[in-house]
Amino acid sequence: MTRLRSPNLLPMLVVALVVVALYYPLMLLANVPVAQRALESGAALECKTALACASQLRSPVLPSPQQLLQGFRNLTFPLTAPTSILPNAWATAGNTLLGLLLATVVGFFFAIGIVASRAFERSLLPWVVASQTVPVIALAPMLVVVLGQYGVQGALPKAIIAAFVAFFPITIGVAKGLRSPDPLALDLMKTYNATQSQTYLKLRFPASVPYLFTAFKVAVTAALIGAIVAEISTVGFQQGLGRMLFENSRASDVVSIWVIMISSAILGILLVALVGWVERRVTPWRR
């Protein structure tokens, strides 16, 4: 990710305030027609006018801030209840990071193959690309059962599905990174009579680190989506944001879906920030 200049705090705050200020009228605008229709159909509502009803619809087009706040309160407390966000988000984060780890191993394997051998690149790269169009979502339930037969249970099947989505950006990023050293530096290694493995250890791997982290930032989001999708399609006793999403979407609890969506967005942002933090610790020279 290109490094941004240090954020200009004041304008950002102003824009954020404008967004918040615009949200309320937008919400009313979106909800009033629905409220109007509900009133006309003679639904038993506590409010009298469409404008008053707009902020307390059961399935709003856009939820009002009060509703969101209420939804957050309902889904956050008690903190450790199986239906509240914290333990579920924790489980999803675990699945995601485990998936990212798997994806890194697989990604490095493919990337080294691609860089080291033209034949490998030619024959395998198209399939690596093509593999990403396979809708894992569709096959996830079967995959989980198949893996379960070999004793692979719990978080691992979800991590594998997350890894399937995440290994692609890592493969591409690392391959690019392994190719990134200056040709002169590569020639220098040749004049030192360095072996292939020495060239990799001393030159190509260090050169690929920045690319690896750029890839991580994309891959961690992909892994999170993979983990959530896996949780949606493997509804069992395990926790996760995907399971919450599935249950609330079955119950048509729109406000809760919003709350879960915002929570998963926050989780995504936190995970990317975590990658950024590790990146700064590992590559301090890039500041």
Binding site: N8, A130, V134, P135, L139, S264
Partner: protein, 269 residues
Amino acid sequence: MARAIRPTPSKPTPALLQGEGMRWLVFAVVSLGVWELGARLYNAPFLLPTPSRILQEFLKTPNLVLQNAWVTAQEIVLGFVLGALIAHLAAVLLIVLPKWLEDFIFRLVSTLNSIPFVALASLVVVWLGVNGIGSKVAIAGLYTFFALVYFVHKGLVSTDTGKEELLTSYNVSFAQRVRFLKLPSALPIIFTSLKGGAMAAVNGAIVGELFGAFQGLGFMILDSRYVGNTARVFLAAVCCTLVGWLLLGLLTALERRWVGWHLEMTRQR
């Protein structure tokens, strides 16, 4: 002028159906053979049907499957084109804006990029309705947009400073700058991210259909899963993959045509 900026290709690209096509074919046959053999040995058709069983499933109701595939293909292509167009417009718009606003929006977009859009899919379906392809096109477009906008913007911004200054000394208009310098030099990145966008569009359309649809491959998946017809689920997945491949193949062909010079350059190392 565009000609002058691009290096000329060093050698003509190889014919499609000689080397590469053969390799693909061999690989396809081998992997299908391994699948068939493995699935037979595994002997659990409910979990892992053989390719031949999937083909049989297709031959049972070819018209219905093709109809569903056609619906999903429409959603994917429409969503992809819409999402890609809007992403490019947004990226160009971003570089016109004042620097602080560009920074802010870019920050916002890269933050939004880290949001799992699966969650949004169920809401889009609520907004735009279960019927018709509108809601799925919107989800596929959304997926594509966010897969693209970041990289297109990056490509447009990271042009060579020397060339930028040259164009400034020519006193070119903004449109000319985009047309003759920024777009051509961003094309390699754009094509790479377009491929990512195509995959995102496929996933988006399927996710949308899983959250609510009455036709399409995603609907076929849900429907067959309920009745326990695994071969049909796999058939839908295979169709989906084929649609994705078609789109990828098209993009790769265009990439070879338009940025073949760049592919040659990166292969030198």
